[in-house]
């Protein structure tokens, strides 16, 4: 099934088992969601559970917080990451803090979902990534799942658990195909080893997992080395154990992310490795990330502003050569 179908399935099943699960957002009801994630659900659960909202992102998240206080399990959909900025007050000042500030008296079982990243020429106001901001907020759990099967299980977990979750998707993943095993017992808080390897650990997440896997056969062939690829899945908390085990084996770290280099999420991973794994590292780590520019409309420039399979491969090769790999 497609990635978006897996998300749809997860929401559908949660609504079936728990009548307090509702979803709200722009065009999520009759229209079925702008990326078709909620397609068909309004016919099954009605407009009471699939709530078309005005274009008012602050309220979408703010209302979801209130619904959770009132005993529902809301899933708030924001059409695109850039619009989530309008809801940052509600996400950061309210959703992330009420449980702690109330000493646990208020519980917010809710999810905020949105797609992010560079799709195709949507320009600067529709192409950004905000995991570096949201994963840094205490009191939130942040998922960014690349695998279709894990996406299904992670979203179910996010909806049915009692803590507030930000669930980040990528516009280019919605039509990705994959098998979903509904009975699998998966832990979305654990990082996923996509491919085992001996010489270098590549840490990445979301759409970059696919870009890394795309160039990997060539990279391995051209360098004669073997690379371990880790998909973080949960950006907060970070499964440091899995990273540690891998780095102890390889001694070399490459971090790949789509977002801008300056202050990007990967800085946390690399700085952690420098602090806690310094003596296990055999070489300087490498961060591959987007350029520090707003995303241009022109396709060539757009592609030049983010990592692609080709540039990832070339950067790793150059780094390997410089660092005695």
């Amino acid at each position: 099934m497609l990635y978006r179908e897996a998300l749809n399935r997860a929401i559908d099943e949660c609504m079936a088992v728990d009548s307090t699960v509702v979803m709200l957002g722009e065009d999520v009801g009759l229209y079925g969601g702008s990326y078709r994630v909620s397609e068909g659900l309004v016919a099954k659960y009605g407009e009471k559970c699939l709530i078309d909202t005005p274009i008012a992102e602050l309220s979408i998240v703010g209302n979801a917080v209130g619904m959770a206080i009132g005993g529902l399990r809301p899933i708030a959909e924001i059409m695109t990451a850039n619009f989530a900025l309008l809801a940052f007050d509600q996400i950061i000042n309210h959703m992330s803090k009420y449980h702690y500030m109330s000493a646990g008296k208020i519980t917010l079982p809710m999810v905020v979902r949105f797609p992010q990243g560079v799709s195709k020429q949507l320009a600067a106001q529709h192409s950004e990534s905000y995991e570096q901001m949201l994963a840094a907020v205490p009191g939130l759990r942040v998922f960014a799942v690349s695998d279709v099967n894990y996406a299904y299980h992670a979203l179910k977990k996010a909806i049915l658990m009692d803590d507030p979750v930000v669930f980040i998707e990528h516009e280019l993943l919605y039509n990705k195909k994959g098998d979903v095993d509904m009975n699998a017992d998966l832990d979305p808080f654990k990082a996923r080893i996509v491919k085992e390897g001996q010489d270098v650990t590549i840490v990445t997440y979301l759409k970059m997992v696919d870009d890394v896997m795309e160039m990997l056969p060539e990279l391995e062939e051209q360098t004669g080395k073997s690379y371990e690829v880790i998909d973080l899945q949960s950006l907060n908390p970070i499964d440091y154990d899995t990273l540690k085990n891998s780095l102890e084996k390889t001694g070399r770290l490459v971090m790949v992310e789509e977002d801008h280099y300056m202050g990007g999420y990967g800085a946390q991973i690399v700085s952690w490795a420098a602090e806690k794994m310094f003596y296990a590292l055999d070489a300087a780590p490498l961060r591959i990330a987007g350029k520090n520019v707003p995303i241009p409309y022109n396709r060539k420039r757009e592609l030049a502003s983010i990592p692609t399979p080709e540039t990832i491969k070339e950067e790793i090769k150059a780094w390997g050569a410089e660092n005695g790999l």
Partner: protein
Amino acid sequence: MDKSIAEEIYALMVLGRKFEYAAKEHYMTGEISGFLHLDIGQEALSVAAMKAFDHGDVFTTYREHIMAMSRGIEPKAVMAELFGKSTGVSEGQGGSMHLFDPSHFFYGGDAIVGGHIPNAVGCAYARKFKESEHGVLVLFGDGASNSGAFFESLNIASTWKLPLLFLCENNQYAIGTKITRVAPFLEQRKKAEPYMRTMEVDGNDALAVYECIKEAQEYISKGHGPVFVEAMTYRYEGHSVSDAATYRSAEELEIWKHKDPIAQLKSVLQDRFELSSSDLDEIDKKAQETVDEAVTFAQESPEAGVETLYDHLFKEVNHVVS
């Protein structure tokens, strides 16, 4: 209006004022810290609205000690919260601005001006969804009535016909800025007129507030959608205890002190309900005792230790810790 209710409201107003003065005193000693917003002068509104709105959820701002107590939260637990003690209503995590008690359906003390209004809208949606008897009351100031969160909420609550009572406490100032300098008119209810029924009430007249909120509560509970009540009032103290309030004239303050809500209700109790001065003294005395007890309780209570700093960060404990 029942005598016993009037008396209960009066007793809470007296308690409230004494509580606020005690809080101020212990702020000066350093036992209370952070921002402390006193409700003195506005007791009629805070108490009578809570008493009238007897079934439903309440969302309010950082100026909420008296509302919390009127909802039934123990004065001790409120004072201890101000002292940052673990016996406080939020166990010392929140302080004066953040008094949460879902067992009293009180979600009080959001410190983001206007930020709690969308939360109240969502809660009203949940109540309607569950076909509950509960409606929701959300209190906010004249200053909050300029925020996007407020405006979006008027529109959404009206569209969804929610059982939501918007209660605008118009004390004419947002910190040092007079409302008429940052809005085109004094009466904030005009902003709600395109969306819902509006009502106005003298915020210093406790019994009028009581009747008005009762009527509004009945209206929303009948499924007519939201309603907007505006109450004009005035705070005697600065915005918070660190504000000297030099932006207002002494005359303006005097005018409002002549309309003092406690004095007003006192006359009514004496004239209409024939309370004697010894009855009134008794109320005063009991209030003072309660406040003194609350202070002693707060002083003697323990602080939460730093070893529990991570408690309540999440409800579900995860095996992977960041």
